[in-house]
Amino acid sequence: MADYNMMEMMISVASRELENGATVGVGTGAPCAAAMLAQKMASPELIIMFEAGGISPELPEMPISVGDSRTFHKALMAGSMGDIMESCSRGFVDYTFLGGAQIDMYGNLNSTVIGDHANPKVRLPGSGGANDFASFCWRMMVMTPQDARRFVEKVDFMTTPGWLEGGDSRAESGLPLDAGPYKIITNMAVMDFEPVSKRMRIISVNPGYSLQDIQDNCGFELLKADKIVETQAPTEEELRILREEVDPYGYVIGR
Protein backbone atom coordinates (compact mmCIF):
# COMPACT_ATOMS: atom_id res chain seq x y z
CA MET A 1 0.00 0.00 0.00
CA ALA A 2 1.30 3.39 -0.95
CA ASP A 3 2.19 5.93 1.69
CA TYR A 4 -0.20 8.89 1.61
CA ASN A 5 -1.54 11.59 3.88
CA MET A 6 -5.05 12.63 4.83
CA MET A 7 -5.38 15.31 2.15
CA GLU A 8 -4.18 12.97 -0.55
CA MET A 9 -6.70 10.39 0.57
CA MET A 10 -9.63 12.79 0.56
CA ILE A 11 -8.69 14.39 -2.73
CA SER A 12 -8.30 11.01 -4.43
CA VAL A 13 -11.65 9.77 -3.15
CA ALA A 14 -13.35 13.03 -4.10
CA SER A 15 -11.86 13.01 -7.57
CA ARG A 16 -13.43 9.65 -8.35
CA GLU A 17 -16.91 11.04 -7.77
CA LEU A 18 -16.55 13.41 -10.71
CA GLU A 19 -17.56 11.45 -13.76
CA ASN A 20 -16.41 12.36 -17.23
CA GLY A 21 -18.50 15.07 -18.87
CA ALA A 22 -19.87 16.46 -15.61
CA THR A 23 -19.69 20.08 -14.49
CA VAL A 24 -18.30 21.10 -11.14
CA GLY A 25 -18.23 24.43 -9.35
CA VAL A 26 -15.06 24.60 -7.26
CA GLY A 27 -13.19 26.86 -4.91
CA THR A 28 -9.45 27.00 -4.35
CA GLY A 29 -7.53 24.35 -2.47
CA ALA A 30 -8.63 20.72 -2.11
CA PRO A 31 -11.76 20.97 -4.34
CA CYS A 32 -9.73 22.38 -7.18
CA ALA A 33 -7.07 19.69 -6.67
CA ALA A 34 -9.76 16.99 -6.77
CA ALA A 35 -11.18 18.37 -10.00
CA MET A 36 -7.72 18.65 -11.58
CA LEU A 37 -6.90 15.09 -10.54
CA ALA A 38 -10.18 13.83 -11.99
CA GLN A 39 -9.35 15.49 -15.31
CA LYS A 40 -6.00 13.76 -15.41
CA MET A 41 -7.48 10.39 -14.49
CA ALA A 42 -10.86 9.11 -15.66
CA SER A 43 -12.60 12.40 -16.48
CA PRO A 44 -10.64 14.38 -19.04
CA GLU A 45 -13.85 16.13 -20.09
CA LEU A 46 -14.81 17.31 -16.60
CA ILE A 47 -15.83 20.97 -16.85
CA ILE A 48 -14.57 23.21 -14.05
CA MET A 49 -16.34 26.46 -13.23
CA PHE A 50 -15.14 29.15 -10.84
CA GLU A 51 -17.73 31.36 -9.23
CA ALA A 52 -16.10 34.65 -10.24
CA GLY A 53 -16.57 33.86 -13.95
CA GLY A 54 -13.92 31.43 -15.24
CA ILE A 55 -15.28 28.54 -17.31
CA SER A 56 -13.19 25.48 -18.12
CA PRO A 57 -9.64 26.87 -17.99
CA GLU A 58 -6.54 24.88 -18.82
CA LEU A 59 -5.21 25.35 -15.30
CA PRO A 60 -1.46 25.89 -15.43
CA GLU A 61 -1.18 25.65 -11.65
CA MET A 62 -3.39 25.78 -8.57
CA PRO A 63 -5.22 29.12 -8.35
CA ILE A 64 -4.74 31.18 -5.19
CA SER A 65 -8.13 32.83 -5.60
CA VAL A 66 -11.31 31.70 -7.36
CA GLY A 67 -10.98 34.89 -9.37
CA ASP A 68 -7.27 35.01 -10.18
CA SER A 69 -5.86 34.89 -13.72
CA ARG A 70 -5.35 31.13 -13.55
CA THR A 71 -9.09 30.54 -13.29
CA PHE A 72 -9.55 31.76 -16.85
CA HIS A 73 -6.19 30.80 -18.33
CA LYS A 74 -6.94 29.45 -21.82
CA ALA A 75 -10.53 29.14 -20.65
CA LEU A 76 -13.55 28.67 -22.85
CA MET A 77 -15.01 31.83 -21.39
CA ALA A 78 -14.08 34.56 -18.94
CA GLY A 79 -17.59 35.54 -17.87
CA SER A 80 -19.14 37.11 -14.81
CA MET A 81 -20.29 35.81 -11.47
CA GLY A 82 -23.80 36.14 -12.82
CA ASP A 83 -22.93 33.88 -15.76
CA ILE A 84 -21.73 31.16 -13.39
CA MET A 85 -24.39 31.47 -10.73
CA GLU A 86 -27.18 31.68 -13.30
CA SER A 87 -25.84 28.48 -14.84
CA CYS A 88 -25.96 26.88 -11.41
CA SER A 89 -29.46 28.24 -10.81
CA ARG A 90 -30.67 26.83 -14.13
CA GLY A 91 -29.38 23.37 -13.24
CA PHE A 92 -26.29 23.20 -15.44
CA VAL A 93 -23.86 22.42 -12.65
CA ASP A 94 -23.72 18.87 -11.33
CA TYR A 95 -21.29 19.01 -8.42
CA THR A 96 -19.76 21.37 -5.96
CA PHE A 97 -17.35 20.91 -3.07
CA LEU A 98 -17.75 22.97 0.06
CA GLY A 99 -16.28 23.16 3.52
CA GLY A 100 -17.02 24.74 6.84
CA ALA A 101 -16.07 24.96 10.47
CA GLN A 102 -19.10 22.87 11.46
CA ILE A 103 -21.33 20.33 9.78
CA ASP A 104 -24.43 18.60 11.18
CA MET A 105 -26.12 15.27 10.45
CA TYR A 106 -28.10 16.77 7.57
CA GLY A 107 -25.03 18.22 5.90
CA ASN A 108 -25.78 21.81 6.87
CA LEU A 109 -22.62 23.87 7.08
CA ASN A 110 -21.42 26.76 9.22
CA SER A 111 -18.78 29.15 7.94
CA THR A 112 -20.14 32.33 9.55
CA VAL A 113 -19.60 32.39 13.33
CA ILE A 114 -18.63 30.16 16.22
CA GLY A 115 -20.80 31.24 19.14
CA ASP A 116 -23.50 33.86 18.99
CA HIS A 117 -23.92 35.98 15.87
CA ALA A 118 -23.95 39.27 17.78
CA ASN A 119 -21.06 38.31 20.09
CA PRO A 120 -19.16 35.58 18.33
CA LYS A 121 -16.30 33.60 19.76
CA VAL A 122 -14.88 33.51 16.26
CA ARG A 123 -16.03 35.47 13.27
CA LEU A 124 -15.58 33.43 10.08
CA PRO A 125 -15.81 34.52 6.44
CA GLY A 126 -19.54 33.93 5.90
CA SER A 127 -21.14 32.25 2.97
CA GLY A 128 -19.16 33.58 0.06
CA GLY A 129 -20.53 31.52 -2.79
CA ALA A 130 -21.08 28.43 -0.61
CA ASN A 131 -24.77 28.96 0.08
CA ASP A 132 -25.29 29.75 -3.61
CA PHE A 133 -23.52 26.64 -4.85
CA ALA A 134 -25.23 24.44 -2.24
CA SER A 135 -28.62 25.88 -3.13
CA PHE A 136 -28.22 25.40 -6.86
CA CYS A 137 -25.78 22.61 -7.74
CA TRP A 138 -27.32 19.16 -7.96
CA ARG A 139 -24.88 17.38 -5.70
CA MET A 140 -22.96 19.09 -2.96
CA MET A 141 -19.95 17.32 -1.47
CA VAL A 142 -17.74 18.12 1.49
CA MET A 143 -14.13 17.20 2.13
CA THR A 144 -13.23 17.67 5.78
CA PRO A 145 -11.25 16.03 8.57
CA GLN A 146 -13.39 13.81 10.82
CA ASP A 147 -13.50 15.51 14.19
CA ALA A 148 -16.22 15.76 16.86
CA ARG A 149 -15.79 19.53 17.14
CA ARG A 150 -16.52 19.79 13.44
CA PHE A 151 -19.27 17.17 13.15
CA VAL A 152 -21.76 18.69 15.60
CA GLU A 153 -25.31 18.01 16.75
CA LYS A 154 -26.31 21.53 15.82
CA VAL A 155 -24.30 24.08 13.86
CA ASP A 156 -23.95 27.44 15.63
CA PHE A 157 -25.08 29.17 12.45
CA MET A 158 -26.50 27.49 9.37
CA THR A 159 -24.63 29.35 6.65
CA THR A 160 -25.17 26.86 3.87
CA PRO A 161 -28.07 24.49 3.33
CA GLY A 162 -27.69 20.76 3.55
CA TRP A 163 -30.91 18.78 3.96
CA LEU A 164 -31.98 21.42 6.55
CA GLU A 165 -33.95 19.50 9.20
CA GLY A 166 -34.04 16.33 7.14
CA GLY A 167 -37.04 14.56 5.66
CA ASP A 168 -38.88 16.80 3.20
CA SER A 169 -37.80 20.03 4.87
CA ARG A 170 -35.48 21.04 2.06
CA ALA A 171 -38.10 20.41 -0.62
CA GLU A 172 -40.51 22.58 1.37
CA SER A 173 -38.04 25.38 1.94
CA GLY A 174 -38.28 26.92 -1.53
CA LEU A 175 -34.80 25.79 -2.55
CA PRO A 176 -34.59 24.10 -5.98
CA LEU A 177 -35.96 20.56 -5.91
CA ASP A 178 -33.85 17.40 -5.96
CA ALA A 179 -30.57 19.13 -5.20
CA GLY A 180 -28.70 18.66 -1.94
CA PRO A 181 -25.77 17.10 -0.08
CA TYR A 182 -24.44 13.97 -1.71
CA LYS A 183 -21.21 12.72 -0.19
CA ILE A 184 -19.14 13.70 2.83
CA ILE A 185 -15.53 12.67 2.43
CA THR A 186 -13.30 12.61 5.49
CA ASN A 187 -9.94 11.15 6.41
CA MET A 188 -11.79 8.21 7.99
CA ALA A 189 -14.84 7.52 5.86
CA VAL A 190 -17.22 8.36 3.10
CA MET A 191 -20.78 9.18 4.10
CA ASP A 192 -23.93 9.70 2.08
CA PHE A 193 -27.45 10.54 3.27
CA GLU A 194 -30.19 8.04 3.99
CA PRO A 195 -32.86 8.82 1.36
CA VAL A 196 -35.89 9.28 3.61
CA SER A 197 -34.58 10.81 6.84
CA LYS A 198 -31.73 12.56 4.98
CA ARG A 199 -29.41 11.70 7.87
CA MET A 200 -25.71 11.19 7.34
CA ARG A 201 -24.77 7.53 6.82
CA ILE A 202 -21.48 5.73 6.61
CA ILE A 203 -21.05 3.94 3.28
CA SER A 204 -17.35 3.23 3.26
CA VAL A 205 -14.54 3.14 5.78
CA ASN A 206 -11.04 4.29 4.97
CA PRO A 207 -8.16 1.84 5.38
CA GLY A 208 -6.83 1.88 8.92
CA TYR A 209 -10.04 3.12 10.56
CA SER A 210 -12.94 1.33 12.23
CA LEU A 211 -16.61 2.23 12.43
CA GLN A 212 -15.96 3.02 16.07
CA ASP A 213 -13.22 5.51 15.17
CA ILE A 214 -15.62 7.29 12.88
CA GLN A 215 -18.42 7.48 15.43
CA ASP A 216 -15.98 8.55 18.15
CA ASN A 217 -14.96 11.48 16.02
CA CYS A 218 -18.48 12.61 15.30
CA GLY A 219 -20.75 14.71 17.56
CA PHE A 220 -23.95 13.00 16.42
CA GLU A 221 -25.06 9.46 15.73
CA LEU A 222 -24.14 8.29 12.26
CA LEU A 223 -26.36 5.87 10.37
CA LYS A 224 -24.72 2.89 8.72
CA ALA A 225 -25.47 1.62 5.25
CA ASP A 226 -26.56 -2.01 4.87
CA LYS A 227 -23.37 -2.76 3.10
CA ILE A 228 -20.28 -0.86 4.13
CA VAL A 229 -17.18 -1.29 2.01
CA GLU A 230 -13.57 -0.30 2.44
CA THR A 231 -12.64 2.94 0.71
CA GLN A 232 -10.14 2.51 -2.09
CA ALA A 233 -6.88 4.12 -0.98
CA PRO A 234 -5.12 6.49 -3.41
CA THR A 235 -3.51 4.52 -6.20
CA GLU A 236 0.12 4.93 -7.15
CA GLU A 237 -1.06 6.68 -10.32
CA GLU A 238 -3.32 9.08 -8.42
CA LEU A 239 -0.52 9.94 -6.01
CA ARG A 240 2.01 10.45 -8.77
CA ILE A 241 -0.28 12.82 -10.69
CA LEU A 242 -1.36 14.63 -7.55
CA ARG A 243 2.21 15.18 -6.41
CA GLU A 244 3.89 15.78 -9.75
CA GLU A 245 1.24 17.49 -11.85
CA VAL A 246 -1.64 18.82 -9.76
CA ASP A 247 0.15 20.25 -6.73
CA PRO A 248 3.92 20.02 -7.21
CA TYR A 249 4.56 22.75 -4.63
CA GLY A 250 2.39 21.02 -2.04
CA TYR A 251 0.10 23.99 -1.46
CA VAL A 252 -2.79 21.67 -0.71
CA ILE A 253 -1.33 18.23 -0.08
CA GLY A 254 1.40 19.81 2.01
CA ARG A 255 4.25 17.56 0.97
Binding site: E51, S69, F72, S80, V122
Partner: protein, 329 residues
Protein backbone atom coordinates in the same frame (compact mmCIF):
# COMPACT_ATOMS: atom_id res chain seq x y z
CA UNK B 1 -48.09 40.69 -0.97
CA UNK B 2 -48.03 38.15 1.81
CA UNK B 3 -44.62 37.82 3.39
CA UNK B 4 -43.97 34.27 4.56
CA UNK B 5 -40.76 35.04 6.37
CA UNK B 6 -38.11 37.73 6.64
CA UNK B 7 -34.59 38.11 7.86
CA UNK B 8 -33.89 40.21 10.92
CA UNK B 9 -30.76 41.84 9.53
CA UNK B 10 -30.70 45.59 9.03
CA UNK B 11 -31.22 46.96 5.53
CA UNK B 12 -28.51 49.61 5.21
CA UNK B 13 -29.56 51.15 1.88
CA UNK B 14 -33.02 52.32 0.85
CA UNK B 15 -34.16 50.23 -2.15
CA UNK B 16 -36.64 52.87 -3.40
CA UNK B 17 -36.13 53.08 -7.18
CA UNK B 18 -37.85 56.46 -7.51
CA UNK B 19 -35.35 58.04 -5.15
CA UNK B 20 -32.55 56.52 -7.19
CA UNK B 21 -34.16 57.86 -10.37
CA UNK B 22 -34.34 61.29 -8.83
CA UNK B 23 -30.64 61.16 -8.05
CA UNK B 24 -29.67 59.95 -11.51
CA UNK B 25 -31.89 62.57 -13.13
CA UNK B 26 -29.57 65.20 -11.73
CA UNK B 27 -26.35 63.51 -12.81
CA UNK B 28 -24.39 65.34 -15.50
CA UNK B 29 -24.57 63.52 -18.86
CA UNK B 30 -22.06 65.72 -20.67
CA UNK B 31 -18.78 64.49 -22.04
CA UNK B 32 -16.51 66.36 -19.68
CA UNK B 33 -12.94 65.70 -18.64
CA UNK B 34 -13.22 63.74 -15.39
CA UNK B 35 -9.53 63.05 -14.90
CA UNK B 36 -8.26 63.84 -11.44
CA UNK B 37 -5.92 62.44 -8.85
CA UNK B 38 -7.24 59.64 -6.70
CA UNK B 39 -6.69 61.94 -3.74
CA UNK B 40 -9.01 64.54 -5.21
CA UNK B 41 -11.56 61.93 -6.23
CA UNK B 42 -11.76 60.44 -2.73
CA UNK B 43 -11.88 63.89 -1.22
CA UNK B 44 -14.64 65.01 -3.54
CA UNK B 45 -16.83 61.94 -3.80
CA UNK B 46 -16.47 59.93 -0.58
CA UNK B 47 -18.30 61.33 2.42
CA UNK B 48 -18.13 60.01 5.93
CA UNK B 49 -21.15 57.78 6.40
CA UNK B 50 -21.45 56.81 2.72
CA UNK B 51 -22.19 53.26 1.71
CA UNK B 52 -19.18 51.97 -0.24
CA UNK B 53 -18.85 49.45 -3.07
CA UNK B 54 -15.53 48.00 -4.20
CA UNK B 55 -15.14 46.26 -7.55
CA UNK B 56 -13.17 43.17 -8.47
CA UNK B 57 -13.21 39.84 -6.71
CA UNK B 58 -11.00 38.91 -3.80
CA UNK B 59 -7.69 40.57 -4.59
CA UNK B 60 -8.24 40.48 -8.35
CA UNK B 61 -8.71 43.69 -10.34
CA UNK B 62 -9.56 45.28 -7.01
CA UNK B 63 -9.02 49.04 -6.51
CA UNK B 64 -6.55 48.64 -3.64
CA UNK B 65 -5.04 52.08 -4.17
CA UNK B 66 -8.49 53.57 -3.52
CA UNK B 67 -8.75 51.69 -0.22
CA UNK B 68 -5.39 53.13 0.84
CA UNK B 69 -6.51 56.65 -0.05
CA UNK B 70 -9.72 56.21 1.97
CA UNK B 71 -7.51 55.39 4.96
CA UNK B 72 -5.13 58.27 4.33
CA UNK B 73 -8.05 60.69 4.30
CA UNK B 74 -9.43 59.16 7.48
CA UNK B 75 -12.92 58.46 6.08
CA UNK B 76 -15.18 56.99 8.75
CA UNK B 77 -18.55 55.40 9.39
CA UNK B 78 -18.80 53.95 5.92
CA UNK B 79 -21.19 51.16 5.01
CA UNK B 80 -19.52 48.43 3.00
CA UNK B 81 -20.62 45.74 0.57
CA UNK B 82 -18.46 42.77 1.61
CA UNK B 83 -18.75 40.92 -1.68
CA UNK B 84 -15.76 38.59 -1.58
CA UNK B 85 -13.92 41.33 0.23
CA UNK B 86 -10.46 40.04 1.06
CA UNK B 87 -7.45 42.36 1.03
CA UNK B 88 -9.66 45.42 0.49
CA UNK B 89 -11.60 44.42 3.62
CA UNK B 90 -8.31 43.96 5.47
CA UNK B 91 -7.23 47.50 4.63
CA UNK B 92 -10.59 49.08 5.47
CA UNK B 93 -10.63 47.12 8.75
CA UNK B 94 -7.13 48.34 9.60
CA UNK B 95 -8.44 51.90 9.27
CA UNK B 96 -11.76 51.08 10.99
CA UNK B 97 -13.26 52.96 8.07
CA UNK B 98 -16.67 51.23 8.12
CA UNK B 99 -19.18 50.62 10.87
CA UNK B 100 -21.77 48.50 9.03
CA UNK B 101 -21.30 45.75 6.51
CA UNK B 102 -23.32 43.53 4.21
CA UNK B 103 -21.39 40.28 4.46
CA UNK B 104 -21.00 37.81 1.66
CA UNK B 105 -17.36 36.84 2.18
CA UNK B 106 -15.14 38.73 4.59
CA UNK B 107 -12.23 38.14 6.99
CA UNK B 108 -10.71 35.47 4.77
CA UNK B 109 -8.18 35.87 1.98
CA UNK B 110 -9.24 32.63 0.31
CA UNK B 111 -6.42 30.08 0.19
CA UNK B 112 -4.16 32.49 2.10
CA UNK B 113 -6.03 32.13 5.39
CA UNK B 114 -7.88 34.52 7.69
CA UNK B 115 -6.99 38.14 8.44
CA UNK B 116 -6.71 38.64 12.19
CA UNK B 117 -7.15 42.38 11.70
CA UNK B 118 -10.48 41.96 9.87
CA UNK B 119 -11.59 39.33 12.33
CA UNK B 120 -10.82 41.38 15.40
CA UNK B 121 -12.61 44.42 14.02
CA UNK B 122 -15.74 42.40 13.18
CA UNK B 123 -15.62 40.79 16.63
CA UNK B 124 -15.18 44.17 18.35
CA UNK B 125 -18.88 45.01 18.48
CA UNK B 126 -18.21 48.22 16.56
CA UNK B 127 -19.70 46.91 13.31
CA UNK B 128 -23.30 46.17 12.39
CA UNK B 129 -23.46 43.04 10.28
CA UNK B 130 -26.12 41.77 7.88
CA UNK B 131 -25.54 38.38 6.23
CA UNK B 132 -25.81 37.57 2.52
CA UNK B 133 -24.01 35.46 -0.06
CA UNK B 134 -21.87 36.35 -3.04
CA UNK B 135 -24.65 35.77 -5.53
CA UNK B 136 -27.33 37.43 -3.43
CA UNK B 137 -25.22 40.60 -3.26
CA UNK B 138 -24.78 40.36 -7.03
CA UNK B 139 -28.54 40.06 -7.44
CA UNK B 140 -29.08 43.02 -5.11
CA UNK B 141 -26.79 45.15 -7.27
CA UNK B 142 -28.58 43.84 -10.35
CA UNK B 143 -31.93 44.96 -8.90
CA UNK B 144 -30.60 48.49 -8.45
CA UNK B 145 -29.08 48.32 -11.96
CA UNK B 146 -32.50 47.42 -13.36
CA UNK B 147 -34.22 50.18 -11.41
CA UNK B 148 -36.46 47.80 -9.45
CA UNK B 149 -36.72 47.57 -5.65
CA UNK B 150 -36.02 43.82 -5.45
CA UNK B 151 -35.31 40.70 -7.47
CA UNK B 152 -36.35 37.16 -6.56
CA UNK B 153 -33.85 34.33 -6.19
CA UNK B 154 -33.93 30.70 -5.13
CA UNK B 155 -30.92 30.63 -2.82
CA UNK B 156 -30.45 31.46 0.89
CA UNK B 157 -33.87 30.10 1.90
CA UNK B 158 -34.00 27.70 4.83
CA UNK B 159 -30.77 28.93 6.41
CA UNK B 160 -29.53 31.32 9.08
CA UNK B 161 -27.99 33.28 6.24
CA UNK B 162 -31.58 34.17 5.34
CA UNK B 163 -32.53 34.71 9.00
CA UNK B 164 -29.73 37.25 9.49
CA UNK B 165 -30.22 38.94 6.13
CA UNK B 166 -32.72 41.65 5.25
CA UNK B 167 -34.38 39.49 2.60
CA UNK B 168 -38.02 38.55 2.60
CA UNK B 169 -39.74 35.41 1.38
CA UNK B 170 -42.97 35.25 -0.59
CA UNK B 171 -44.80 32.87 -2.88
CA UNK B 172 -44.41 33.13 -6.63
CA UNK B 173 -47.82 34.08 -8.07
CA UNK B 174 -47.14 32.06 -11.22
CA UNK B 175 -45.88 28.79 -9.72
CA UNK B 176 -46.68 28.86 -6.02
CA UNK B 177 -43.01 28.32 -5.25
CA UNK B 178 -41.33 30.12 -2.39
CA UNK B 179 -38.80 32.73 -3.43
CA UNK B 180 -36.26 34.86 -1.58
CA UNK B 181 -36.81 38.53 -2.42
CA UNK B 182 -33.54 40.43 -2.38
CA UNK B 183 -33.74 44.21 -1.96
CA UNK B 184 -31.90 46.52 -4.35
CA UNK B 185 -28.48 47.71 -3.23
CA UNK B 186 -27.28 51.03 -4.56
CA UNK B 187 -23.97 52.11 -3.02
CA UNK B 188 -23.46 55.84 -2.51
CA UNK B 189 -20.00 55.58 -4.00
CA UNK B 190 -18.03 52.79 -5.62
CA UNK B 191 -14.57 52.22 -7.02
CA UNK B 192 -13.79 49.93 -9.94
CA UNK B 193 -10.31 49.28 -11.29
CA UNK B 194 -9.98 48.67 -15.03
CA UNK B 195 -7.30 48.33 -17.65
CA UNK B 196 -8.24 51.35 -19.75
CA UNK B 197 -10.53 54.36 -19.67
CA UNK B 198 -10.88 57.60 -21.58
CA UNK B 199 -11.06 61.03 -19.92
CA UNK B 200 -14.87 60.90 -19.87
CA UNK B 201 -15.04 57.59 -18.06
CA UNK B 202 -15.75 55.11 -20.84
CA UNK B 203 -13.99 52.08 -19.43
CA UNK B 204 -12.96 48.62 -20.50
CA UNK B 205 -11.32 45.62 -18.95
CA UNK B 206 -10.33 42.09 -19.91
CA UNK B 207 -10.89 38.80 -18.13
CA UNK B 208 -13.72 37.95 -15.78
CA UNK B 209 -16.24 40.68 -15.02
CA UNK B 210 -17.18 39.39 -11.54
CA UNK B 211 -20.15 41.70 -10.69
CA UNK B 212 -18.62 44.98 -11.79
CA UNK B 213 -21.08 45.80 -14.58
CA UNK B 214 -24.00 45.75 -12.17
CA UNK B 215 -21.96 47.50 -9.50
CA UNK B 216 -21.21 50.30 -11.98
CA UNK B 217 -24.87 50.66 -12.92
CA UNK B 218 -26.11 50.47 -9.33
CA UNK B 219 -23.78 53.04 -7.78
CA UNK B 220 -24.83 56.63 -7.30
CA UNK B 221 -21.27 57.86 -7.71
CA UNK B 222 -18.59 55.87 -9.48
CA UNK B 223 -14.85 56.36 -9.52
CA UNK B 224 -12.84 54.52 -12.13
CA UNK B 225 -9.19 53.85 -11.43
CA UNK B 226 -7.35 52.62 -14.50
CA UNK B 227 -3.97 51.23 -15.42
CA UNK B 228 -3.85 53.52 -18.47
CA UNK B 229 -5.77 56.43 -19.93
CA UNK B 230 -6.65 55.96 -23.57
CA UNK B 231 -8.06 58.31 -26.18
CA UNK B 232 -11.76 58.68 -26.87
CA UNK B 233 -10.91 57.80 -30.49
CA UNK B 234 -9.73 54.40 -29.29
CA UNK B 235 -12.99 53.89 -27.39
CA UNK B 236 -14.97 54.82 -30.50
CA UNK B 237 -12.82 52.54 -32.69
CA UNK B 238 -14.12 49.51 -30.80
CA UNK B 239 -17.39 50.28 -29.02
CA UNK B 240 -18.04 46.56 -28.46
CA UNK B 241 -15.25 46.59 -25.87
CA UNK B 242 -16.67 49.34 -23.69
CA UNK B 243 -17.90 47.73 -20.48
CA UNK B 244 -18.83 50.84 -18.49
CA UNK B 245 -20.24 53.90 -20.28
CA UNK B 246 -19.02 57.34 -19.25
CA UNK B 247 -22.35 58.63 -17.92
CA UNK B 248 -22.12 56.31 -14.91
CA UNK B 249 -18.72 57.73 -13.99
CA UNK B 250 -17.82 60.72 -11.81
CA UNK B 251 -14.03 60.57 -11.79
CA UNK B 252 -11.29 58.88 -13.77
CA UNK B 253 -7.99 58.35 -11.97
CA UNK B 254 -4.99 56.96 -13.80
CA UNK B 255 -3.39 54.73 -11.18
CA UNK B 256 -0.85 52.30 -12.65
CA UNK B 257 -0.56 49.21 -10.46
CA UNK B 258 -3.75 50.32 -8.73
CA UNK B 259 -4.67 46.69 -7.94
CA UNK B 260 -1.27 45.86 -6.37
CA UNK B 261 -0.62 43.73 -4.32
CA UNK B 262 -3.52 41.89 -5.91
CA UNK B 263 -3.65 40.48 -9.42
CA UNK B 264 -4.47 42.57 -12.48
CA UNK B 265 -5.16 40.08 -15.28
CA UNK B 266 -2.87 40.38 -18.29
CA UNK B 267 -0.80 42.96 -16.36
CA UNK B 268 0.66 41.64 -13.10
CA UNK B 269 0.14 38.77 -10.71
CA UNK B 270 -0.39 39.19 -6.99
CA UNK B 271 2.59 39.83 -4.73
CA UNK B 272 2.15 36.89 -2.39
CA UNK B 273 5.18 37.81 -0.28
CA UNK B 274 3.81 41.22 0.50
CA UNK B 275 0.35 39.83 1.29
CA UNK B 276 2.00 37.28 3.57
CA UNK B 277 3.77 40.19 5.29
CA UNK B 278 0.37 41.82 5.85
CA UNK B 279 -1.05 38.59 7.27
CA UNK B 280 1.78 38.06 9.73
CA UNK B 281 2.43 41.69 10.68
CA UNK B 282 -1.20 42.43 11.55
CA UNK B 283 -0.97 40.01 14.48
CA UNK B 284 1.41 42.37 16.32
CA UNK B 285 -0.22 45.78 17.00
CA UNK B 286 3.02 47.75 17.18
CA UNK B 287 4.58 46.17 14.14
CA UNK B 288 1.29 46.57 12.29
CA UNK B 289 1.10 50.28 13.10
CA UNK B 290 4.60 50.79 11.76
CA UNK B 291 3.72 48.67 8.72
CA UNK B 292 0.61 50.72 7.95
CA UNK B 293 2.51 53.98 8.43
CA UNK B 294 5.23 52.85 6.09
CA UNK B 295 2.90 51.48 3.40
CA UNK B 296 -0.13 53.74 3.63
CA UNK B 297 -0.16 56.69 6.00
CA UNK B 298 3.31 58.02 5.33
CA UNK B 299 3.29 57.62 1.57
CA UNK B 300 1.78 60.26 -0.64
CA UNK B 301 0.01 58.04 -3.11
CA UNK B 302 0.09 54.67 -4.85
CA UNK B 303 3.38 55.50 -6.57
CA UNK B 304 4.90 55.84 -3.13
CA UNK B 305 3.47 52.47 -2.10
CA UNK B 306 4.88 50.79 -5.20
CA UNK B 307 8.30 52.35 -4.60
CA UNK B 308 8.19 51.18 -1.00
CA UNK B 309 7.65 47.62 -2.24
CA UNK B 310 10.24 47.12 -4.90
CA UNK B 311 9.21 49.67 -7.47
CA UNK B 312 9.09 48.93 -11.18
CA UNK B 313 11.59 46.09 -10.90
CA UNK B 314 9.13 44.25 -8.67
CA UNK B 315 6.28 45.09 -11.04
CA UNK B 316 8.24 43.61 -13.93
CA UNK B 317 8.75 40.49 -11.90
CA UNK B 318 5.03 40.22 -11.16
CA UNK B 319 4.30 40.75 -14.84
CA UNK B 320 6.51 37.80 -15.68
CA UNK B 321 4.66 35.78 -13.08
CA UNK B 322 1.30 36.75 -14.56
CA UNK B 323 2.47 35.46 -17.93
CA UNK B 324 3.88 32.28 -16.37
CA UNK B 325 7.43 33.01 -17.46
CA UNK B 326 9.98 30.92 -15.61
CA UNK B 327 11.55 32.82 -12.75
CA UNK B 328 15.08 34.04 -13.41
CA UNK B 329 16.30 34.72 -9.90
Amino acid sequence: MEILDQGKGELFVDPDPDKLRGFFRGKNRKLIDKCMTLKDAVDKFVNNGDYLGIGGFGANRTPIAACHEILRQGKKNLGFAGHTATHDMQILSAGEAYDRIDVAYVVGLEARGLSSCSRKYLESGKVKITEWTNYSLTVRLQAAAMGVPYLPARNIMGTDTFNYSAAKMAECPFTGKKLALLPALSPDVSFIHVHEADMYGNARFKGIATSDIDLAKASKRLIITCERLISNDEIRRDPSSTKIPYFLVDAVCEVPYGAYPGTMPYEYFSDEEHIKEWMSTEKDPDAFKEFLDRNIYNVKDNDGYIMENGGLKKMQKLRRKEFLFKEED
